[in-house]
């Protein structure tokens, strides 16, 4: 069952990280970003529009992504987002923070040799 993450559950920072990572290969519009996250996480994470778009605009305000209106593959006008140089730097920083966090969590949650059990 897909875990639907509302804004309450998903920390803001992690959504930002996901968006930046999604945009790393190339630009996309909002809908495509949401679908990509859902697919790549094998349906475990589904981002609500109510949290996605505020996050996108926030990232744009901070200058980590840039937006422009382009024509979609179906010929309709859509707002495409792409990562900026600043965003790339931010992505690196956040990614290493997340890695460190995940490693720390992993170390703590896995039963240690000293603890026994």
């Amino acid at each position: 069952m897909a875990k639907i993450l509302t804004r309450i559950d998903l920390l803001r920072g992690t959504l930002d990280l996901l968006i930046l990572r999604t945009l790393l290969p190339g630009p996309s519009h909002g809908h495509a970003i949401a679908k990509h996250i859902q697919r790549t996480s094998e349906d475990l994470l589904k981002v609500e529009t109510g949290s996605l778009y505020p996050a996108l605009y926030r990232l744009e305000a901070k200058g980590w992504i840039a937006a422009s209106w382009e024509l979609s593959d179906k010929g309709k006008r859509a707002r495409y987002y792409r990562i900026t140089a600043k965003g790339r730097k931010q992505l690196d920083a956040e990614q290493s923070k997340w890695d460190a966090f995940a490693r720390a969590m992993g170390l703590l949650l896995k039963p240690g040799r000293e603890e026994g059990r």
Binding site: H29, T49, G50, P54, Y57, A78, R79
Partner: protein, 883 residues
């Protein structure tokens, strides 16, 4: 962190961003619907689930909106829009408020724009903060030898320069012009740091005896007299008969250091024809100059004062004539210190008056705002009840006042600019040939000043009524009607005070105006009609008495031969141009008075004139004869006295043949002077003067080099000029005319102070009258509003509409009369202070007072009747029902 720039950008684009977000969400929805269709859902279900998938778009919009909205800006924009709407809804109030404030602000900005440059403009040149002026014995004239001493011995100033005005005769292509030039020390331009725009400025090398004559032109002279000729450098000219070369043109903005008179050209102090003699006595006591200096970097004006004071003390020890000469050092402002003080004093009084006007305007407006606030109690009560914060409410009310103030400031600046144009178009020609104008530019400092005024007026006008209005007891407020508003007695008081102020100003204006009218009827005792007045100056030739007398005689003979000249004469002083000279005169057998008080009684005014003076001006000689060619320097001294002098000195006898002597005030008395003629009394210095004793001396015996030629002409006086000029050119190619004008224009100069005072008082008076009228209107209108119900009941019960109106107006008029009486009293006192300017008009002139009373009552009546009228024609049923 969102950068500030982006924040502002997005705020400016907020409307577009809302639309974009909507479009984006729409796109998202349609993509989602597409996908579900592709997954197999029906069209309807796909659309519906996609729509549901979007979630609550309103909350989404709100979340995103925080990124581009900016609460303070948004609220302020909202406040201003609301204020605009409110002001537009009551155009009458807005118009009167803006007009009121605009007048107050405009008048202040104008006076400020005139005063500010006088206060702050320093001497021209580089690094002008270090420039100073040096005065001796409290005048700008420093004796040349003392200037040299200061220059050579100072340790605090890095340079000292001298300058002095000289009327010069400039001969250009064989036609002579009178030029106002300046002789300066060689370092003058370097000290100031002024560089020529063409050629070069004067150098120290020009200021040595024997150096070739070099002249620097002013920009205006270069344009007017030399047609902006780019090749003017190197051109030869003749100055006072000596050959000079033009070596440069001064920059356009350089107006010299002796404002308001600016020289047409500069030559060196020791230039040929100008060099002061080597006679030491003359230099200690004769020639003087205006002196400026530049402080060394580490020194101040105080240091310079101490330093030069020390030098002056040493000089006083070595030279007796230096005893008692003080030296003062002043900050180097462009305007001379004493002129500056006078101008500032006058402007300070004006500024006080205009500030008063502004305060009156603000008080008026505050009263209006209070009244409006009272009328809006209901609306404000409801808003407060609905949850509006008090601070927000005050902000909104203040926004209204701020908007009003900004509009008024803009209108006020427009008024000030218009006023400046008016002022600039006024000019008066001074006896020396210069034109006096008040040229003001409304510059940036004026804008800053008016911004300050705007803030001030907002605070005065807006805050108090706003805070009062937003503090009501909500329940009472909601139930309030116009009838329950306060009576605002204080406002009535204020309006009455304004009416009084108006009365005072108008009384002054009308008394002065009447005085001007009377002045036209005063018999000056001579006739200026058809007389041409031409000033000439031969000081540069240093004629002796004999030479001078001879020269003038020939001049008169030549001019008299011209066909359109009826008679010609010369005079040192022109009557009624506010110039006069007095001497101490003792009868032949009179002892030297011992008491100082007796000096006054032997002071007699005098003028030096040529033969035919009396005939030219139409002054009757009652007895004896006019001066003639026999009254020369080598003959016994003679004089002609007027009736008053004859009565004072020889009360019972015929003055002819009697003698008097001139006394120098100590113990020396001059040679006896015989009275050979008796002239009718006339006015000498100003039209308003009392009869004074007067005597005339012949120019041949009391030579003065700068005189005025007075000629009666056949036909229009100015029409004589071309013929006169060509005749004079053949007579003396170097004689230049200082000025030429009909005499009638010059004698009006003595009326100038009265004209100015009358105009100012009238202008201010009318402004305050307008304000008072607005105030009266406002008070009456508010009263009517408050009492609509009561008045409607009266009418319903059978009162005549007319009675109601009369009642309202009568209330107002009682106040007006009280104010009028008070104002007339103060006005009488004020005008008695000005009595020196009044010609034959008493300071309680009944016609003036009556006129003012009429104007005031009339205006107040109309201002009260207009709104009162409306009250009477209200349908009682409508009035009783509407709350």
């Amino acid at each position: 962190m969102i950068s500030f720039v982006r924040r502002v950008q997005w705020w400016l684009q907020r409307r577009r961003k809302e639309d974009e977000l909507r479009e984006e969400l729409e796109f998202h929805r349609s993509e989602e619907a597409h996908q579900r269709r592709a997954d197999g859902m029906s069209e309807d279900e796909a659309r519906w689930t996609a729509h549901r998938d979007l979630g609550n778009t309103n909350i989404l919009h709100e979340d995103v909106r925080t990124l581009w909205s900016w609460a303070p800006l948004d609220q302020t924009a909202q406040d201003i829009r609301y204020a605009l709407r409110t002001l537009r809804k009551s155009p009458g109030f807005t118009a009167t408020a803006v007009l009121t404030l605009a007048l107050g602000i405009g008048v202040n900005v104008l006076i400020f724009s005139v005063a500010y440059p006088i206060l702050t403009t320093r001497l021209p040149g580089v690094d002008s903060e270090r420039l100073v002026r040096i005065y001796e014995s409290r005048t700008s004239n420093v004796f040349y030898a003392d200037y040299e001493a200061f220059r050579d011995r100072t340790r605090v100033l890095e340079g000292v320069a001298a300058s002095q005005f000289e009327g010069m005769s400039l001969r250009l292509d064989d036609s002579p012009h009178h030029a106002i030039g300046m002789v300066v020390s060689g370092n003058y331009f370097q000290l100031l740091g002024i560089e020529a725009q063409l050629g070069r400025a004067l150098l120290a090398s020009d200021d040595t005896r024997g150096a070739p004559g070099a002249a620097v032109l002013s920009d205006r002279t270069w344009r007017n007299r030399f047609g902006s000729d780019p090749g003017v450098v190197g051109r030869p000219i003749i100055l006072n008969g000596q050959p000079f070369t033009i070596v440069g043109v001064a920059p356009a903005e350089f107006v010299g250091t002796t404002v308001p008179v600016s020289p047409e050209l500069w030559v060196a102090w020791h230039a040929p024809g100008f060099a002061p003699s080597n006679d030491d006595v003359l230099r200690r006591r004769g020639r003087s100059a205006q002196v400026i200096g530049r402080l060394k970097p580490e020194h101040t004006v105080r240091d310079a004062q101490a330093d030069l004071g020390g030098i002056a003390a040493v000089l006083a020890e070595s030279y007796p004539e230096n005893v008692g000469r003080s030296v003062s050092v002043y900050d180097g402002f462009l305007v001379f210190p004493e002129l500056r003080a006078q101008a500032l004093g006058f402007l300070a009084i004006l500024l006080m008056l205009t500030s008063l006007v502004l305060v009156v305007a603000c008080v008026n407006l505050a009263g209006l705002q209070l009244a409006r606030g009272a009328a809006r109690q209901r609306e404000i009560g409801v808003r407060l009840a609905l949850g509006a914060g008090r601070g927000r409410l005050i902000r909104q009310l203040v926004a209204e006042s701020l908007l009003l103030s900004v509009l008024s400031a803009a209108a006020g600046i427009a008024c000030a600019v218009a006023g400046a144009q008016l002022l600039a178009s006024w000019s008066a020609v001074l006896p020396g040939g210069q034109t006096l104008t008040v040229a003001t530019t409304i510059g940036w400092d004026a804008l800053v000043f008016s911004a300050a005024l705007v803030i001030l007026t907002t605070t005065l006008v807006g805050l108090l009524p706003a805070s009062r209005a937003s503090r009501p007891d909500i329940v009472t407020a909601i139930h309030s009607t116009p009838a329950t508003g306060p009576r605002l007695r204080s406002r009535t008081f204020v309006v009455a005070a304004q009416l009084s102020l108006t009365t005072v100003l108008l009384v002054l204006a009308s008394v002065l105006a009447r005085s001007l009218l009377e002045a036209r009827d005063i018999d000056p005792g001579f006739s200026a009609d058809g007389v041409l007045s031409v000033s000439i100056d031969v000081s540069s030739r240093s004629y002796s008495r004999e030479q001078g007398g001879q020269y003038f005689q020939e001049l008169r003979d030549r001019v008299e031969r011209l066909p359109s000249v009826r008679s010609v004469s010369l005079a040192e002083l022109v009557p009624l141009t506010l110039s006069g000279r007095s001497r101490l005169v003792l009868r032949d057998d009179q002892a030297i008075p011992t008491a100082a008080a007796d000096r006054e009684s032997v002071m007699v005014y005098t003028n030096n004139v040529s033969p035919r003076f009396f005939a030219t001006l139409g002054i009757t000689l009652l007895a004896g004869r006019d001066f003639d060619s026999h009254d020369r320097a080598d003959r016994p001294d003679v004089a002609i006295v007027n009736e008053t002098m004859a009565r004072r000195y020889w009360p019972d006898n015929n003055p002819l043949g009697r003698h008097f002597r001139m006394w120098d005030g100590t113990d020396a008395v001059g040679p006896p002077i015989e009275v050979i003629g008796l002239a009718r009394d006339s006015k000498y210095v100003s039209l308003g003067e009392d009869q004074r004793p007067f005597f005339y001396r012949p120019l041949a015996q009391a030579f003065a080099p700068d005189v005025t030629m007075l000629m009666t002409t056949i036909g229009e006086p100015l029409g004589l000029l071309p013929a006169l000029r060509s005749e004079l050119r053949t007579f003396d190619p170097d004689l230049a005319l200082v000025s030429a004008a009909p005499l009638i224009g010059q004698t009006r100069i003595s009326l100038l102070p009265v004209q100015v005072a009358a105009s100012v008082a009238m202008a201010l008076g009318l402004v305050v009258l307008g304000l008072a009228a607005i105030g009266t209107y406002g008070v009456t209108a508010y009263d009517v509003r408050r009492r609509t119900k009561e008045l409607a009941i009266r009418v319903a019960l059978g009162a005549e509409a007319r009675d109601v109106v009369v009642g309202l107006v009568r209330d107002r008029m009682w106040w007006t009369i009280a104010a009028l009486v008070g104002g007339l009293g103060v006005g009488a006192v004020a005008s008695s202070i000005l009595s020196t300017l009044l010609y034959g008009v008493s300071s309680v002139d009944p016609m003036a007072f009556a006129g003012v009373a009429l104007l005031l009552c009339g205006t107040a009546f109309v201002a009260a009747w207009w709104p009162a009228r409306r009250a009477a024609y209200v349908d009682p049923m409508v009035a009783l029902r509407c709350e």
